[in-house]
């Protein structure tokens, strides 16, 4: 099987690295590609932001063409699928039949294999947990070439969930869908004036089915943390299908597009869409779950140099202090960022390296500049001091020591790796940077 030498990045387009990229069209080819490679990693849709789905000088095996639905049981809602199936595909195929995935990330382009590897969460984490809480089993191709059916509860299950592709390649998975009627949510939007109000509003919204906050990260002083709160409940309504309008970003945006005045204007306009008294309307589930997907390659607006996404979770008790400090640091740095997202998270994920833990999670983008490193290091420190953690799906710069402190089950994870892949054939740029395999970390 032929490989293509490609220089790739994550969704943030920084950093990039060069690998031999295989794109198997069938399982037998995937098995061959993995067997032949001394250093290998699965890659789905490349929607993780940093260096997690990269493998400098090694092999990457794309799962995008292994995107078949293998079975569905309409009595239990159990869907069996290949790893390259995407969230948008499942929504388009099953919602008309009255089924939806219980948990979905903010982009429908992510693959189900990638969703296990990061144990992704949605806007309903308090109520429904993470993606893997609904996964019953998966088939894992191990470094030895063996394919193992891994069920919930196994140590290998807990290592693979959130395991960044380092235990092997998920080649099939079984996930339980929710019975639903309709294709719309009742969406309530309200303006929020500052961070304190935001935290209490989100706290109260834990009881609603979905909730997410959008913060204007450039606001300072008394307006620090102002933004919009969206809460939503599923409905029985079926809205007529909308013609999908897909826009593309035709070129990498020039730097000034992201200067502070431009971003400030955008953030203001975004807030003003919603009247002071708030508003309520029916919204298609697809649009509510995947607001950014209408512009397929929006990451190009950050230009050639790429960008970072910072995402942390901090415990409830620490949230007011830690988030204030973070938003202040960001505003002081004038690091223009389009909307920042603030959400609540519920119970811990099952994975040894699952990101979710109870608390508030803040996510925001920064264009890659010479000074970004300092700001990110400061945010990393604030997260650690608050007893929080960073989301590995988004990270490209954190230090090995911080990650080890944030993820106390890392040694258990490493023990599983030592057992299933003693030679360390499954690896990535992130794994090397963070020294996940033990030994020397590469900074």
């Amino acid at each position: 099987m032929r490989a293509k030498t490609q220089t790739l990045g994550g969704w943030g387009r920084w950093p990039t690295s060069t690998a031999s990229v295989f794109r198997p069209e069938r399982l037998a080819e995937l098995q061959r590609a993995v067997a032949d490679a001394p250093s290998v990693l699965a890659r789905g849709a490349g929607r993780s932001y940093g260096d997690q789905a990269l493998n400098q000088s090694g092999s990457l095996v794309l799962t995008t063409r292994l995107n078949r639905l293998l079975g569905f049981d309409p009595t239990t809602g159990l869907l069996v699928a290949e790893p390259g199936v995407t969230f948008r595909d499942v929504l388009a195929t099953f919602q008309p039949r009255g089924w939806r995935l219980p948990v979905s990330p903010g982009t429908g382009f992510a693959t189900l294999g990638g969703a296990i590897a990061n144990d992704v969460h949605g806007k309903n984490h308090d109520g429904r947990g993470s993606f893997s809480d609904h996964v019953q089993w998966f088939d894992l191709l191990l470094a030895s070439g063996e394919v193992r059916r891994v069920v919930r509860g196994d140590a290998l299950f807990r290592a693979t969930v959130g395991g960044m592709g380092l235990t092997g390649v998920i080649i099939a998975l079984a996930v339980t869908l929710d019975r639903v009627t309709g294709n719309a949510v009742l969406l309530k939007e309200q303006r929020i004036t500052d961070l304190d109000h935001f935290l209490s509003a989100l706290q109260a919204a834990r009881a609603s089915s979905y909730s997410v906050g959008w913060i204007d990260a450039l606001a300072r002083g008394r307006a620090l943390g102002r933004g919009l709160l969206e809460t939503a409940e599923p409905t029985d309504t079926t809205l007529p299908p909308e013609r999908e309008r897909r826009r593309r970003v035709p070129l990498d945006f020039p730097g000034f597009a992201l200067s502070a005045p431009m971003v400030r204007a955008f953030n203001l306009a975004y807030r003003w869409r919603v009247p002071t008294a708030g508003r309520e309307r029916l919204a298609p589930v697809a649009k509510f779950l995947y607001p950014l997907d209408a512009i397929e390659d929006w990451n190009r607006i950050y230009g050639k140099r790429g960008f970072h996404q910072f995402q942390c979770v901090v415990p409830d008790a620490e949230a007011p202090r830690a988030l204030t400090a973070m938003l202040q640091a960001i505003a002081d740095a004038g690091a223009a960022s389009f909307l920042a997202v603030l959400k609540t998270l519920g119970p811990r994920g099952q994975g040894m390296l699952s990101f979710p833990q109870p608390g508030f999670t803040l996510a925001l983008d920064f264009p890659h500049r010479a000074t970004t490193g300092e700001l990110l290091a400061r945010l990393e420190r604030l997260t650690l001091d608050a007893g929080g953690r960073l989301y590995l799906a988004k990270d490209s710069v954190a230090s090995p020591a911080s990650i080890a402190a944030m993820y106390p089950d890392l040694p258990a994870f490493q023990a599983v790796l030592a057992e299933v892949d003693p030679a360390g054939r499954f690896t990535s740029d992130m794994a090397r940077r963070l020294g996940v395999r033990g030994g020397e970390a590469r900074r």
């Binding site: 198997p24 069209e25 069938r26 399982l27 078949r68 079975g71 569905f72």
Partner: protein
């Protein structure tokens, strides 16, 4: 699921069912209500595609194992399909082919007969065996996937190209023969397609994606078009290529 189920009652046999193009084509016909028979060697892969197609489009999808390298198996396949053709419900897509590298075949000419068997002999054998049944039924659609590589023998790819040229010449005559009986035959000449056949090869530009290309092919077949270049701009490229005088062409390293 598409609302128009205008192919209900048809059976599309798809030879080379593990090819991405064939897979996309299976979805296209199934979305319009046709049953599908996937033919090929990798039965595990065909079973997965069968599950996928039937789950998404709620049609019957069957699998038939056949190695085109083995004439006996081609005969068995023909027998399997004859009654369907006779009943007037068989349509056929021939997408199977192999493309060993030109250099490998030049170094080892023993690779050429198997190429010829899969790309030329087996398809012709199958079509000749099915022709009488189709003629009696008076209906059916046949799609033969050739290649722009068959339009002119180039330095880099003339052994594979020769096989596609032979297939195209046969198909043109076969179209004439079948047209008299009301059976339609389409020759498809793809340029580059974004599949395993081209992945990682140097010099591939603007490869067509399997799904839109499959849609174009199905539309052309149902509109009774005779020859289709796809993506469409390849018609222009080949028109130019075919008109370069041989004294110049023989110096070109393409």
């Amino acid at each position: 699921m598409s609302a128009v189920r205008d192919l209900q009652g048809r059976l599309w046999a798809i030879v080379g069912g593990s090819s991405p193009l064939a897979r996309a084509f299976a979805h296209r016909v199934a979305a319009r209500g046709a049953s599908v028979l996937l033919v090929g060697r990798d039965l595990d892969d065909l079973a997965r595609t069968a599950a996928d197609v039937s789950l998404r489009h709620q049609v019957e999808v069957l699998v038939h194992g056949c190695d085109l390298g083995d004439p006996d198996q081609v005969g068995l396949l023909a027998r399997r399909l004859q009654s369907e053709a006779e009943a007037g419900r068989l349509d056929l897509l021939l997408a199977a082919a192999i493309m060993p590298s030109q250099a490998a075949m030049e170094a080892d000419p023993a690779l050429v007969p198997p190429l010829w068997q899969v790309n030329v002999t087996a398809p012709i054998d199958l079509l000749l065996r099915l022709a009488p049944a189709w003629q009696r039924a008076g209906r059916g659609t046949v799609v033969v996937v050739g290649s722009v590589a068959g339009d002119r023998g180039r330095l880099s790819n003339h052994l594979y190209g020769a096989s596609k040229a032979a297939l195209a010449t046969f198909t043109a005559g076969f179209r004439n023969r079948m047209a008299r009986a009301g059976v339609h035959v389409l020759t498809v000449k793809p340029g580059f397609l974004d599949t395993g056949m081209t992945w990682g090869l140097p010099g591939i530009f603007l490869p067509g994606q399997p799904d839109p290309v499959a849609g174009t092919i199905l539309a052309a077949a149902l509109n009774r078009k005779d020859v289709l270049y796809v993506p469409g701009f390849w018609w222009l490229i080949l028109t130019i290529l075919k008109h370069i005088p041989e004294p110049i062409f023989k110096r070109l390293k393409i």
